[in-house]
Amino acid sequence: MGELEHLILLAIAALDANASALGIRRRLDAEGRGITRGALYRSLDRLGEKGLIVWEVEEPAADRGGHVRRVYGLSPEGLDAIRERRATLERLWAEAAEVVR
């Protein structure tokens, strides 16, 4: 899992039940991690293939031109993956704390 995929998983978790593609992009933008539309969709496809995310499809809406919206959530494997990443980061931070302080 790359840095970008990690951030997207975190954004999905942070947005909870409102994690649409647009929402994820805006959330990352707000954190100063701008991401192109293409990169976001390709990352979502990859995360889907790895089984780290799940999604629900909302009803087609007029304000979306009659198109549906997918709302993403973390699969149990996705949750495990970000937890493991967090543990790794915390271990490294603990060891690096003296130097970085």
Binding site: W55, R64, H67, R69, R70
Partner: protein, 901 residues
């Protein structure tokens, strides 16, 4: 569920374009489009429609392109993966049948190699670039006339015209004009026996134009052409080796050319590319004051100035030449000149278009037979793979997949055969070019270029498709029947037999047509090479043509012609001698084109088929020299001089044409009147001679009806304006006279008259039949190859048939049938196919023989004997091919066969 909004929408085409390429992943096509729509609406509210549409388009391309590339990549890799699978499976299957591979690849490589070789030859002769830097701008300049130039004959022009063109053509049309003139000249040196060699007399810049270089010494320069300059000669590398033993001291030595000592000034490099492949280069002396425009034979080569088109140069030349020739007394009306690209002129000289087409067609027939052969073998293999195709179809493979799997065998074998054929031609090309270098012009090259490669690849691909088609149809049928069921397989074996019968029949039909054509060609070849049937002497006769000096009434051609051969007779080597001069005859319906003929006492001139096609005024001794028999009356003799009543001999076929109701021998004593420009002379028929065949290749031994008036009594007016030359012929003991000697004899009687190159009757006849000899040999070789291929095809079919009926044979034997019955049962259907194909092939051979003959290819009609021979060969091949497999089948143990069942 679709929900159609009524509000503003982004460009529909862009939306549907993007929808097509979004993959079926986590992003989801509808969701992606929805996201874009939301942002599009926001943007449109804030910045307006145009900005929003532009933004939308940018997003569609930015998102769509990577997805589209991804889709293409996935599709390609899927197809390639499938192909790899098919390829592997085909190769695995084929590896188990090495004999099939060997036979197929070899036979296809043969066909493909022949097509490549034919394409290389045609390409080399017609299209390959010429070796000179300015080749693209080189043109051939020659005289033209709407009626007086025989088809296929290149008259060149006169030296006088060449000199006028050089000075009078507008500036800026041609960069330069150079001339050369072919000649055969006798040479003598101390180091080699006297011989006659091909020479070319050249203008001063000829060597420079054709980028010739001397390995030692120098080339002919303008100074060598000046009047009074010492006679000089440049040798070819070959002649230098033969005549001077490669001596570096050859320069400065003297070579006797045509009886005159010439100083050797240079030796051409071995790779020199002259147009005429001459052994000698001599200076072309300028035209003297007596030269006329009618004395042709000079070839003029021009280089167009940069940016000038051939059409423009042609127009300029035609305008100048028409003006010059209109004032020339010696020429009839209508003469002009034209410029033709050199490449076109050389292409016409190289390969006759019909010959080239025939060659390529014949090679294609061989390729086709090889392809049918392979198709037959593959059909058997496809039937053997029935179970595999059935399983594939049952597992959901579509028709296309099954077809592709089956086509792969054909593609692999055709590809391998094509590559092998091409490789053989590539490797054999240099050897072939070296072998035939002496027969080919030095400027010709035979590159295996893009054109040849396209022809080969196209030929091989079409073959692969043809080869693959029947087996593919069979495979698809098997697939559709989901042939796991045994009955379906059995059915497919039966249909496969029908397909094989068709292929076998097709091969036999083609083979028979080719065998008939080549037998016909060989028969024609042996007929045309038999010169004894021509009705005149053809061995040991040489001669020259003396050009008349025009406009000189005092020349008294008749008397001169009568005495011309007597001067030749003074030479002790000359045994017999004679003169002759052509008269052009014409029917009353074409009065302006020649001399009219009238039967004495009738007022109407003859017309149509009653007019003898030629007339030859002859001197005493003509019939004796040429050994033309006199069947009634007497020949032309010394007595038929100016003072005697005009006399003529007439050939039997001319007598028949003029007096259809009488026996030819009975016309002696009749009168024949010849008339031109209102002047008539009546000749008494004093003798009737045997008919003569002039063209040894003419169909049906067509004779040329002739009237032979005495040359001493034929007034000049009868010859028309363009007076024809006098042929002077002799037979000699030992070496024939040199041109120098001929010229001396002629000039003793006719000072200033020009003498053509020396001709030999036998040489002319041999040159005439040469194309038929070549066609006959090529056809013979191709027929042998095709017969071998068809024999292989029959062998394959019969083997397969017997192998697929092994079980049936075993059961029949077990049930008590004797071997003869079994053999009959197996061979009967094959024999039926062979008989039907032989009958069809016979008809096809007859038809194709007629078509080829009508197209000018003298293959001779396919007759009963040839066809019978071809049929026997086919039956022989079938019987020979059946023998082995049948013997193996009869050795089957019936009990084992029943156990298998």
């Amino acid at each position: 569920m679709s929900h159609r909004p009524g509000g503003p929408r982004p460009p529909h085409r862009l939306t549907s374009l993007l929808a097509r390429v979004i993959p079926d992943g986590a992003a989801g096509a509808s969701s992606v489009l929805g996201d874009l729509y939301e942002e599009y609406l926001h943007l449109r509210e804030r910045r307006g429609r145009v900005a929003a549409d532009l933004w939308y388009a940018a997003q569609v391309f930015a998102l769509g392109l990577p997805w589209a590339f991804g889709a293409v990549r996935r599709a390609l890799s899927e197809i390639l993966g499938g192909l790899r699978l098919d390829l592997r499976s085909s190769l695995r299957g084929l590896r188990r049948q090495p004999a099939l591979i060997a036979v197929s690849v070899l036979s296809l490589s043969l066909g493909s190699g022949l097509v490549t070789a034919a394409a290389t030859m045609v390409n080399g002769a017609w299209y390959a670039p010429l070796p000179w830097t300015a080749a693209e701008r080189m043109v051939d300049l020659a005289d033209t006339h709407p009626t007086e130039i025989p088809p296929g004959f290149t008259p060149g022009t006169s030296l006088r015209a060449f000199q006028r063109w050089r000075t009078d053509l507008p500036q800026g049309v041609f960069e330069r004009l150079e001339a050369h003139m072919r000649a055969w000249v006798p040479i003598r040196t101390g180091e080699m026996a006297p011989s006659t060699v091909r020479a070319v007399r050249v203008s001063g810049g000829y060597g420079d134009l054709l980028e010739l270089e001397a390995s030692t010494g120098r080339l002919v320069s303008p100074a060598d052409l000046e009047p009074g300059a010492d006679p000089v000669v440049v040798l070819s590398d070959g002649l230098w080796r033969a005549a001077f033993g490669e001596s570096p001291d050859a320069i400065g030595r003297t070579l006797d050319v045509d009886g005159v000592g010439h100083t050797v000034i240079g030796v051409l490099r071995p790779d020199a590319r002259t147009l005429e492949d001459a052994e000698l280069l001599l200076p072309l002396s300028p035209a003297g004051p007596e030269a006329t425009y009618a004395q042709r034979g000079v070839q003029v080569l021009g280089v167009l100035a940069e940016g000038v088109s051939v059409e423009a140069a042609d127009a300029a030349l035609a305008s100048l030449a028409s003006g010059l020739y209109a004032d020339a007394e010696e020429l009839t009306a209508g003469w002009s000149a034209s410029a033709t690209p050199l490449r076109t002129v050389l292409a016409r000289r190289g390969v006759h278009p019909m010959g080239a087409v025939a060659l390529v067609l014949l090679c294609l027939v061989v390729l086709l037979v090889a392809a049918l052969n392979l198709a037959s073998l593959l059909l058997a293999r496809t039937t053997g793979r029935a179970r595999e195709f059935g399983v594939r179809a049952a597992l959901g493979a579509g028709t296309a997949r099954v077809a592709r799997a089956s086509l792969m065998d054909g593609l692999i074998l055709a590809g391998a055969g094509g590559a092998l054929g091409l490789a053989v031609v590539v490797f054999a090309r240099d050897a072939a070019v070296a072998r035939f270098a002496a027969e080919m012009p030095s400027w010709a090259s035979f590159p295996i270029d893009l054109r040849v490669l396209v022809a080969t690849v196209l030929g091989t691909t079409l073959t692969a498709l043809l080869v693959g088609l029947l087996p593919v149809l069979r495979a698809v049928a098997i697939g559709r029947a989901s042939g796991i069921a045994r009955s379906a397989v059995g059915q497919s074996v039966r249909s496969s037999s029908r397909g094989q019968n068709l292929l076998l029949g097709g091969q036999i039909v083609l083979a028979l047509a080719l065998v008939a054509a080549s037998a016909g060609a060989l028969r024609t070849f042996s007929r045309v090479s038999d010169f004894d049937r021509l009705g005149y002497r053809w061995e040991g006769l040489t001669g020259v043509v003396v050009s008349p000096v025009p406009g000189e009434e005092a020349w008294e051609t008749a008397r001169a012609a009568g005495t011309l051969d007597r001067t030749a007779a003074q030479d002790p080597r000359v045994q017999t001698h004679a003169t002759a001069r052509s008269l052009r005859l014409a029917g009353a319906d074409r009065a302006g084109e020649g001399t009219l003929v009238r039967i004495g006492g009738l007022t109407e001139a003859l017309s149509g088929s009653g007019v003898p096609s030629a007339s030859l005024a002859v001197g005493p001794g003509y019939f004796g020299l040429n050994e033309i028999p006199i069947l009634a009356g007497r020949a032309i003799t010394e007595a038929d001089g100016e003072a005697a009543p005009p006399a003529a001999v007439i050939s039997t076929d001319a007598a028949r044409a003029m007096w259809p109701d009488r026996a030819p021998e009975s016309v002696v004593g009749e009168l024949v009147e010849l008339e031109r420009d209102g002047r008539r002379t009546a000749f008494t028929v004093v003798g009737v001679s045997g008919p003569v065949i002039l063209d040894p290749t003419a169909a049906g031994d067509r004779t040329v009806p002739r009237i032979y008036p005495s040359i001493l009594q034929t007034p000049d007016v009868l010859y028309g304006n363009a007076a024809s030359g006098i042929q002077l012929q002799v037979s000699t003991a030992g070496a024939p006279p040199t041109l120098q000697e001929w010229t001396a004899w002629v000039n003793e009687v006719l000072p200033g008259a020009q003498v053509s190159e020396v001709f030999e009757v036998e040489g002319i006849l041999r040159q005439w039949v040469q194309p038929i000899v070549v066609i006959g040999s090529v056809l013979g070789v191709l027929a042998m190859l095709v017969l071998a291929l068809v024999a292989i095809g029959i062998y394959g079919t019969v083997s397969y048939r017997i192998a697929s009926t092994r079980r049936e044979i075993g059961i029949r034997l077990a049930l008590g049938a004797d071997a003869r019955q079994v053999v009959g049962a197996v061979l009967r259907p094959i024999a039926r196919v062979v008989v039907a194909a032989v009958v069809l092939g016979g008809l096809f051979a007859l038809a194709s023989g007629r078509v080829l003959a009508a197209g000018g290819i003298p293959v001779g009609p396919g007759d009963a004997v040839t066809l019978a021979l071809g049929a026997i060969l086919m039956f022989g091949a079938a019987a020979g091919a059946s023998w082995g497999p049948l013997r193996r089948a009869l050795a089957i143990d019936p009990s084992q066969s029943l156990r298998e069942e």
